[in-house]
Amino acid sequence: MTTYIIKRVLLMIPTLLMIALIIFLVLNLAPGRPGQTQVSADGMQSSESAEARESYRIFKEQFNFDKPILFNTRFNLTEADVRSRLDLRVQFNKPVCPDTGEKPEGCLPVDQKPSSAAVIKAVEEVEDWGAYIVPELVSIAADEKADLLLRKLAVVNLASNAQMRLKSQYGRKPTPEEREYNDNAQKENEQLRAWRPSKEMSAEEFNKLVKENWVPWFEMNKPRFEYSGGDKVAIFFTDTRFAKYMYNLSKLDFGVSHVDKKPVLDTIGGKLKYSISLSLLSILLAYMISVPLGVWSAYRQGSRADQTVTLILFMLYSLPSFFIAVVVLELFTWGEPFKWFPTGGFGDAGADTMTTLEQLKSIAWHLVLPLLCMTYRGLASLSRYARTGVLDVIRADYIRTARAKGLGEPMVVIKHAVRNGMIPILTLLGSLLPVLIGGSVIIEVIFNIPGMGLYLFESILARDYNAIMAVLLISSLLTLVGLLVSDLSYAVVDPRISFD
């Protein structure tokens, strides 16, 4: 038994890795990014939008959204790549030639003007390439033959791309070493930002800026931007979103939420108790009602009572839970016609002022309707399984033997029939778990219970990647554990099954 459990637990690791990879790819390959702001496409931005741009850049950097997803080949970028992206923005800023009349200098025909979508993409790309293109940007800036606007753009980008990364901006408190590093980096970044050219700067002034500040700075820091073969291999695999995420995950760090900048694990820890208590109570309730009901109905197979119960259960099974939830909410909470139950929430607010008993009562009061809505469908299918389970064994020889040797009817049914008939229903426990963890989304949304389902729903609407990843991974883990437990419970009920 122990070896079996250990084997199963070890098997969970590759499964979870696979799950992590799948969710990660789904999230990251989807178009759009969280926190994407409307990017202004004009070449030189006003100071305000530059600030917004900068904070968006830092946001991307902190959440690794500037990195490629699986593999990083950015050390191969050439000056031509960078130049073409910057050129797009220069083109975009040129005036469009009017159909008639005098044509302004350097104007572009309408059909050659790049679309704003292409420009936004180019801006993002140059920004995301980060420190990998610093040498290229410097050489473009120093190229006196190039267009002045192009060179200015190169320097503007340089001022952000060349900045040093800060360590763990959000989330944990930085250690003293990290803080020192951050302080130094901040100082240098400040300096780099100060070397940004202004829109009105003349060519001479700009040349002076590049020659006196940027070129010497680059010469001094050159080793930072040169990569050896070994570096390249390491960058190829490790300087990616996936590698960073998995590295953090291996330290059980699920990252921080994009929305409230708090570690998602803490948030989920707070939410788990609502979801788990709701699911467990609902499973418990479903089993407690459905097993006796199924047994009773099987025992009276074919009678009118059995037919009625079967029909009612069948109808319950076909009723969608959100419909029932809306109906009971309308009937029992708004005061028309009844105001018996609260409209939503878990009822554990105001814990300081209430005694434990009062609090329990409040929770129970809040949970009546959600539990009802969560339980009835599971109840319907479980009783049907329980009924078939008992029907399968009730005509078996050993039941006849038990009766023949004079055992009382309750003993025959409970000890012999039920125990054997319940084995199939135990397997269902395993498959019920993911349904209950996942199926509670709607109930949690309707009844406003702050559990995992509601959190996932809100995170998806906000595109909070780290939160979604964490919720899915943790609920998958719970499901795996649930499956293991249900397999083990087999062996407990049926002595013929052993795992050794």
């Binding site: 499964t15 696979m18 969710i23 076909s318 969608p320 419909f323 109906v327 899915l472 499901t479």
Partner: protein, 418 residues
């Protein structure tokens, strides 16, 4: 024509009351009265879905406009209803265009069948008739699909005319469908009306007739339910048969894949996938349900394959040197189809509930009149008609499908044979 040689073969090789497996199952199925009538109920739902525009559309069948009234293009007698059916600006979703083409093609196919079937029956021996019957329906469904797709590919569109406004003008005579409403156009001066003789189920928060929306919602629910299940049945059957037939390492990979999919709480996965499609269409929703739902079918088919592979007739086929493809498709797969059919029937019911749940959360197809979306509006506006109508519709559809599924399951089970 029945030739002598045909008759000889059939009389020499087969017993007189010979029945195919399909016929046995069908006869059994007919004995489950409730399930049998539920099948007719499902057919009735399809009739409602197909012929919805006959009952409710805000475009007249016939309109006669005197010269000088309204735009010049509509002057004289015209039949806008027929044109509107295939107008991609009027019915934006491909699902609607598809069903609209069925309004004409389905009656034609049925008429052809009732014309030709008695003649075939008279002139042929039973076995040949059965082959012809099967071929007729295969060809007919192919033609239906091709016409529907062709109509959609045409991308026919015409300038918008407000016929309802036009009909009120002097000298204009027109004949409308019974309900003069669109499921889409908002009527801001008739918001939240409770059920009456004009609006059978009232109107919603944007003044749209709820009955019309429910009617067209049938199309959405049935399409998503059936096609999503078709997608996942296909995926599951391919993966399951590969794993079950080849066994060994291939099987291990398939099993791992199934296990990985199984331990996602499926609704979480669906929500996540849906969250990353902006402006989801009906098509997106069914693909999302399709790619997440295949594990059950794959496990089922894999199990059937493992069981069947060891049986004598498959071993005989292998010994005869048939190709793998032939063995899989001609010998094993047909025998594994029964349980798949049962599972798929229940699956359609499940997919309809899933779609409604997504729409209820506001994550359904964005422009389609989905039942779940109507229920959400009902919850927001507290109009009972908007809560009860979609709930009841989902309940009825799902019950009918579940009853059919039960019947098929019992009919396929030799132990339950009556």
């Amino acid at each position: 024509m029945a030739t002598d040689s045909d008759k000889q073969i059939s009389s020499s090789l087969l017993p007189k009351d010979y029945k195919t497996y399909g016929e046995i199952v069908w006869e059994q199925f007919k004995k489950y009265k409730l399930s049998y009538w539920s099948l007719w109920g499902v057919a009735a739902l399809f009739v409602l879905a197909i012929f919805a525009p006959l009952l409710a559309l805000n475009v007249p069948f016939y309109i006669s406009v005197p010269e000088g009234t309204g735009p010049a293009s509509v002057a004289g007698v015209s039949f806008p209803w027929f044109k509107a059916l295939f107008d991609v600006n009027f019915f934006e979703s491909g699902v609607d265009i598809f069903f609209n083409s069925l309004i004409f093609t389905v009656p034609m196919v049925l008429a052809a069948w009732f014309f030709i079937a008695p003649r075939w029956k008279k002139s042929m021996i039973k076995d040949k008739y059965k082959v012809y019957r099967t071929n007729f329906w295969l060809v007919a469904s192919g033609v239906l699909l091709a016409i529907a797709l062709g109509v959609y590919m045409l991308q026919f569109s015409q300038p918008y005319v407000d016929y309802q406004m036009l009909s009120k003008a002097d000298g204009v005579s027109s004949v409308y469908p019974l309900l003069e409403y669109s499921y889409r156009d908002m009527e801001l001066n008739s918001v939240g009306i409770s059920p009456n003789s004009a609006h059978w189920l009232g109107t919603d928060d944007r003044g749209r007739d709820v009955f019309t929306r429910m009617l067209y919602g049938t199309r959405i629910s049935l399409t998503i339910g059936i096609l999503a299940v078709a997608i996942y049945t296909a995926i599951g059957m391919v993966l399951g048969s590969i794993g079950g037939f080849f066994g060994g390492r291939v099987d291990l990979v398939v099993l791992r894949l199934i296990e990985v999919m199984l331990c996602f709480p499926s609704f979480f996965l669906i929500l996540t996938l849906r969250g990353f499609v902006e402006e989801a269409s009906v098509f997106h929703i069914m693909v999302i349900i399709g790619v997440t739902g295949w594990t059950g079918i794959a496990r089922l088919v894999r199990g059937e394959f493992l069981r069947l592979r060891r049986q004598d007739f498959v071993q005989a086929a292998i010994a005869l040197g048939y190709t793998r493809t032939r063995i899989i498709f001609r010998h094993v797969l047909p025998n594994a189809l029964g349980p798949v059919l049962v599972s798929a029937t229940f699956g359609v019911a499940g997919a309809i509930i899933l779609e409604a749940s997504l729409a209820f959360l506001g994550l359904g197809p964005t422009t389609a009149p989905s039942w779940g979306q109507i229920l959400t509006v009902g919850r927001q506006t507290k109009l009972w008609a908007l809560i009860l109508a979609p709930g009841f519709a989902i309940f009825v559809t799902v019950s009918l499908l579940n009853l059919v599924g039960e019947g098929v399951r019992d009919a396929l089970d030799p132990k339950m044979r009556r």
